[in-house]
Symmetry: C2
């Protein structure tokens, strides 16, 4: 398999993986069992992957991680809104 196609499929899967979680959170308005530390560490790590992708000039890494950063920022925002005070 072409390595770029492989990277795009891999990136597509890892970037969309948080979407079912996001939908579940928006639908159920419940975030009690979710770890905000996970989301925060993930956002930091994914942002560094974007940087890595830019240096290595690897488009699948840049696109998939940039998208995943956006999804996780949305998830973190939902977390802030729905968490129990």
């Amino acid at each position: 398999m072409d390595v770029n196609v492989l990277g795009i499929i891999a990136g597509f899967l890892t970037s969309i993986s948080m979407i079912p979680q996001l939908i579940k959170v928006i639908r159920e308005k419940n975030v009690e069992d979710i770890s905000w530390v996970m989301i925060l560490v993930l956002i930091c790590g994914l942002s560094l992957w974007v940087w890595y992708g830019i240096i290595q000039k690897e488009l699948p890494i840049i696109l998939s991680n940039a998208f995943a950063v956006l999804v996780n920022i949305t998830l973190l925002t939902c977390f802030m809104i729905y968490r129990k005070k």
Copy 2:
């Protein structure tokens, strides 16, 4: 910054990101708000990243994603154990 160091830090953060979630699940034995679709899609995507890393011969990608696969398989196992029937 050296690109390998950057990749290692990025990979370290994304691989450890699920650990706080795993600890929370093990401690609280509650997985109601977590999406198993997320975990499953993530495992598929991360496995493809390992494959991508092997072809590109990029150690940070291989190691971090392989570790993340293990963490997520553990999380999925916990999900199966703790979910309400």
